[in-house]
Amino acid sequence: MIEQILVFAFVLIAAIYVLRHIRQTLLHGEKEAKCEGCAINEAMAGKNSQMSKSTNGQMGKFADL
């Protein structure tokens, strides 16, 4: 019985982690998978990101350049 409870706890934690990962990835990009070589994390996190400020909502407009 204790074994079963322990296993269910593990599964529950894993499920919560996966759901949070999906939410995080879709809304803010890959938080856990920090790819130092990719600028994506900084951009996704919105930290010091000139690009995220300068392009949001302007993509269509900039096409005219």
Partner: protein, 722 residues
């Protein structure tokens, strides 16, 4: 970015106290080595590469040992942006019109082997009135090519705060740059920079009224009125963006003067749009060209000689095929031993844990769920490392731009523009930076098409699935003594994605014709010996990312899949085999539910569960199958090798589940299927709408299904590989 306070309406009384005094901008032409310098100055490890457009975002880092924030900006050829990445840099520079937005200093990085072109942007930056540290990068190559540069004379002629010879490759000049940044003098707010362009009186005269208007409102934080007026006349958007706070009547007044200037130019038959460029180059020729000479450009000649073969119309594509063939061959042959070691380690761990723990659910979770699930993904680490290693060599040596050049020729023949090629090639590593790299494409329509097609490029996450299926079901045949059939099939998967993208963009071109044609203009960098640090960092980061994913999301999904494949447990009295228990489990029920949909593709319910799970991460396909087959196995002592389990898997009627045809169908499905949430997120961000990620998911899933259906059913009809 909006400039909130226009230079024209703001007196120059702002002090150092409210300026961005701890910030220093790093600016330069594309592929001048900014990020390599930035990494050395800050200790960061951002990606560098020997091709233009590696950096498309602003990145920040602390200058080593100082509280000074260094900002690495995307490369720009001038302050007239043509693409989104250049716009980031230009917007930032234009924001310096507002006194309190001005940085402590600006580091202008020049490719010293190509000074004439690099000085163009330098002159524009110097006119912003911020202390400029001009870094002559790549001095090691300058010496090899016998180019003579007189930094002291250049400093004097430029009137720059400092000119420092340096090399990001050897580390030359780094301490001097740090010292110069730290000791940068405060900005002289009363000093109005002189225009650094040479125009005749006749060329300036038509601008007279605009210049007077701006002079009355100018201060040191703006570029000289002559330069501003030239840009306003050439581009209406310039006035709107940089003088937004003028009153309506002032805007009208200024616009009238601009229109008058255009008429004046027309009367004199002067082409005003190219006047700034002409003036800059005339200035460089007259005042700066004596400070350097480039008479012996041996390395460029070397690159040109090599290019005459590598980029040759006939030899080029053949060499490209040979290079790719070599890489894929190597991925199979070199990775064999380390893969075997990891497999043995995983097996040893599983057996040890089985021996230590009593039989039960905990043991099953740890062995069949976690160790087998995660372990079967981790075994592909050597292949990932090898692929990234070779991609880094291609990038850093400069060969990847030649690949783009060769493929562009083909795309041009099909009537497509080739600027998408480089981002697409980057997509072989990961779609996310590749989608961001598409910012270098000026035209929005072309850029959107590129964004939607990049996920068709086979990224490293697909590699474990490809390798697993190919090693299990494609025969180990060798042609001509060294060409492996398995490597050819693997290369075929990469080509399949690429050429499908080409065909789709061709279809779009014919269905929705474009009014304007985009031309592919790309700088071919000289061939360079890859920097060890750069290659190592790329390999290290990719390996780390793969392991972090394996230890987090793949681990979590493996636990859930183990649960879904193990529960509900049969009644205590019910004697059922492990196989039928798994079939009745939650995972089994789910797989059976979708089986009718995927059966025409040659897939059974277990593959169906794997496909559903792999929408969270493609590698999970491998761990899912490993977990299911291990729970099914009657023998709990040893773990079941995945390849063996797949080969032995049969339908209830005794037919094998996996045939060569099934494997090919599944491979094609994975080439096309949209199964990466991080990609959906970046497409949403880059297009500012969920519409385009949804379009991408729909078209890729439909394509994956139809293509697999054609492969499997077509193969059955032809009697191939069944």
């Amino acid at each position: 970015m909006k400039i909130t306070s226009p230079a024209t309406n703001r007196p120059a009384e702002a002090t150092d106290a409210n300026r961005a005094t701890n910030q220093v901008a790093l600016i330069g032409n594309p592929n001048s080595g900014k990020t390599a310098l930035f990494n050395l100055l800050t200790g960061a490890n951002f990606k560098v590469g020997n091709y233009p457009g590696v950096t498309v975002e602003k990145k920040s880092g602390w200058l080593k040992g100082h509280k000074i924030l260094l900002q690495d900006l995307p490369g720009a050829y001038s302050l007239s942006p043509k693409s989104l990445d250049e716009k980031v840099t230009v917007d930032l520079v234009q924001s310096w019109r507002v006194t309190d937005q001005r940085p402590k200093a600006v580091v202008v990085v020049l490719d010293a082997t190509n000074l004439t072109r690099n000085l163009f942007l330098t002159l524009q930056i110097l006119e912003m009135g911020v202390p400029a540290i001009v870094v002559l990068n790549m001095m090691d190559e300058v010496r090899k090519q016998n180019i003579r540069i007189d930094p002291a004379l250049l400093q004097k002629r430029l009137d720059a705060y400092a000119v420092i010879p340096a090399s990001a490759k050897t580390g030359e000049g780094i301490p001097e740059i740090i010292k110069a940044i730290v000791a940068a003098p405060p900005i002289d707010e009363k000093h109005i920079p002189t225009p650094r362009l040479k125009l005749s009186d006749e060329q300036i005269a038509p601008l007279g009224e605009v210049i007077h208007y701006l002079e009355a409102r100018s201060h040191s934080a703006a570029p000289p009125p002559l330069v501003d007026s030239l840009r306003m006349v050439a581009d209406d958007g310039y006035r709107e963006q940089n003088y937004p706070a003028l009153s309506e009547s002032e805007q009208t007044d200024l616009q009238e003067k601009i229109e008058q200037a255009r008429k004046n130019f027309a009367e004199k038959s002067i082409e005003f749009s190219a006047l700034e460029s002409a003036g800059r180059y005339a200035y460089i020729n007259k005042h700066l060209s004596q400070t350097y000479s480039d008479e012996a450009v041996s390395a460029v000649s070397f690159s040109e000689k090599v290019d005459s073969i590598i980029s040759h119309t006939v030899w080029g594509p053949l060499i490209l095929l040979f290079v790719l063939g070599f890489i894929f061959n190597t991925i199979f042959s070199w990775a064999e031993y380390p893969m075997g070691w990891i497999e043995s380690a995983v097996e040893w761990l599983a057996v040890t844990v089985s021996g230590l723990l009593p039989e039960g659910v905990i043991q099953s979770l740890l062995v069949d769920g976690i160790i087998v699930g995660v372990g079967n993904v981790v075994v592909f680490l050597p292949q990932i490392i090898l692929l990234i290693f070779f991609l880094s060599l291609l990038e850093d040596s400069g060969y990847i731009t030649r690949m783009a050049f060769i493929l562009d020729r083909l795309m041009n023949k099909l009537g497509l523009q080739g600027k998408a090629v480089l981002p697409m090639l980057s997509g072989f590593a990961c779609a996310i930076p590749a989608i961001m790299a598409s910012r270098t494409i000026e035209n929005w329509r072309d850029r959107l098409i590129t964004i939607l097609l990049i996920p068709l490029m086979s990224c490293t996450a697909r590699l474990p699935v490809y390798i697993l299926l190919i090693s299990a079901f494609v025969p180990q045949k060798t042609f001509l003594g060294f060409i492996q059939l398995q490597a050819l099939v693997l290369m075929g998967m990469y080509f399949l994605g690429f050429f499908t993208a080409v065909i789709i963009s061709l279809l779009i071109k014919h269905l929705v014709p474009q009014k304007t044609i985009s031309h592919f203009v790309m700088e071919l960098p000289p061939y360079r010996v890859p920097m060890f640090r750069s290659v190592w960092m790329k390999v290290y980061n990719s390996g780390k990312l793969f392991l972090v994913n394996a230890g987090s999301i793949i681990l979590a999904i493996s636990i859930i899949l183990w649960f879904l494949a193990s529960y509900p447990t049969p009644n205590e009295n019910g004697e059922v085999s492990s196989a039928s228990q798994v079939e009745q489990s939650y995972a089994g029920q789910l797989g059976k539910m979708i089986e009718p949909v995927i059966e025409p593709l040659g897939f059974d319910w277990k593959i169906g569960v794997g496909i559903i799970a792999s929408f969270a991460a493609r590698e999970v396909m491998v761990s899912t199958l490993a977990t299911i087959y291990n729970i099914e196995a009657e023998d709990d002592e040893d773990i079941v090798p995945l390849v063996e389990a797949m080969r032995n898997e049969t339908h209830p009627d005794g037919r094998p589940v996996y045939t060569l045809l099934t494997a090919l169908s599944l491979l094609v499905f994975f080439v096309y299927a949209a199964q990466c949430m991080a990609t959906f997120a970046i497409v949403k961000r880059e297009t500012n709408s969920w519409r385009w990620p949804l379009v991408m998911i729909f078209y890729m899933t439909a394509l994956a299904y139809v293509a697999s259906l054609i492969v499997y059913q077509g193969g059955l009809l032809l009697g191939v590989g069944a």
